[in-house]
């Protein structure tokens, strides 16, 4: 896990870390993207923050590879018991009934994303339709730093 944990997370809170990822992604892809944080941001268990950050990175990679989007927004919603991360784009979308197969050479990797979230008692929802953009939504328990495992 250590190798996957970006240096930014060691010092910055999750919203800032995501913001940093987003800025870099925007510069490389040329697509404007914004992060909206709702609720009261607070430190969560490192495993949870790391998983959300990775989800953001992978969802953004998918947008860049497949979506041809004009608008991308990440929404990090801190609620009482859960935190959700939504990555929504207005791009090409795809047919949920015929989902693209994960592959090593730039597939969507949605199954891997879901597995990673399941490991921290989270869940992943994908909403999409051809021509209607895609929303990837991760929902994880809001376990604060320092909580007994």
């Amino acid at each position: 896990m250590q190798a996957l944990r970006p240096a930014t997370l060691d010092t910055a809170a999750l919203p800032e870390a995501i913001e940093e990822v987003l800025d870099g992604w925007s510069r490389r892809s040329g697509v404007s993207a914004e992060l909206i944080t709702t609720g009261t941001a607070r430190p969560l268990l490192p495993e949870i923050e790391t998983t959300l950050l990775r989800t953001a990175q992978e969802a953004l990679a998918n947008v860049a590879r497949h979506a041809a989007a004009g608008r991308v927004a990440l929404t990090l919603s801190y609620m009482e018991d859960v935190v959700t991360l939504d990555v929504r784009d207005d791009g090409a979308g795809f047919d949920l009934d015929a989902p693209p197969v994960a592959s090593a050479d730039g597939g969507y990797g949605l199954a891997a994303m879901r597995d990673r979230l399941l490991r921290i008692a989270g869940s992943l929802d994908i909403e999409s339709e051809p021509g209607g953009g895609t929303a990837v939504s991760a929902c994880v328990p809001a376990i604060p730093v320092g909580a007994a495992a």
Binding site: T38, A73, T75, S77, M79, E127, V136, S137
Partner: protein, 208 residues
């Protein structure tokens, strides 16, 4: 077209309702009944989409009739249309399976909207009834709604579906649902109609 069954023990009320719906070709009155027991027989014969049900009637009351309609497998949505808005009337009717609860004297336009909404399976409560329900739900030390929950509830109150609300906020429907569930819990309600009514009642949402 929405097929209606009118159940009321007063012929003059049935006539009034029949006349009201006769003037609008979205609706068709398929039958009438003077009490709950008759309602079950007529409902079986005409298979209405929506039943307008009075509560206090001889032979079989409205709540029992609603329960029996369910038991006999009727697909009809039941809209209670009654004079009474006391707790002891409202809650049992909703528990028995009523889709909506309106008071007699509800203006024509509102009644038509309510029937159409009930037909779609949406909950319908007249403001007086919603207020009544809120009274029994309001308890101290409720957590306040978050800014985002209010935003979601405002969009829902404006008639947006979860999908449309998600589109407006540019988030997923899944997250819209999560916000709504939290709002329901905080307001002590179980569905979106009650949540919207409750939020208006508490002054959390404006009236325009």
């Amino acid at each position: 077209m929405i097929g209606l069954l009118i159940v009321d023990d007063h012929p003059v009320v049935r006539d009034g309702l029949r006349g009201m719906f006769a003037g609008d070709d979205r609706f068709r009155v398929l039958g009438e009944a003077g009490n709950g027991r008759e309602a079950l027989v007529v409902a079986r014969a005409v298979d209405p989409d929506v039943v307008l049900m009075d509560l206090r009637m001889p032979e079989m009351d409205g709540v029992t009739a609603i329960r029996e309609l369910r038991a006999q497998g009727s697909r009809a949505r039941v809209l209670v249309l009654t004079t009474y808005d006391t707790d002891s009337d409202v809650l049992p009717a909703i528990k028995a399976g009523a889709t909506g609860y309106l008071l007699k004297g509800t203006p024509r336009g509102e009644l038509f909207r309510a029937v159409t909404a009930a037909h779609r399976g949406e909950s319908v409560l007249s403001p007086a009834v919603a207020g009544r329900l809120m009274g029994s739900l309001r308890s101290p030390a409720k957590e306040p709604l978050s800014q985002r929950e209010l935003e979601v509830l405002t969009l829902v109150a404006q008639g947006n579906s979860n999908r449309e609300t998600a589109g407006r906020l540019f988030i997923s429907e899944a997250t819209v649902k999560t916000h709504l569930l939290h709002a329901y819990a905080k307001l002590g309600v179980r569905d979106r109609a009650a949540a919207v009514a409750a939020a208006f009642e508490c002054g959390l949402l404006g009236t325009d």
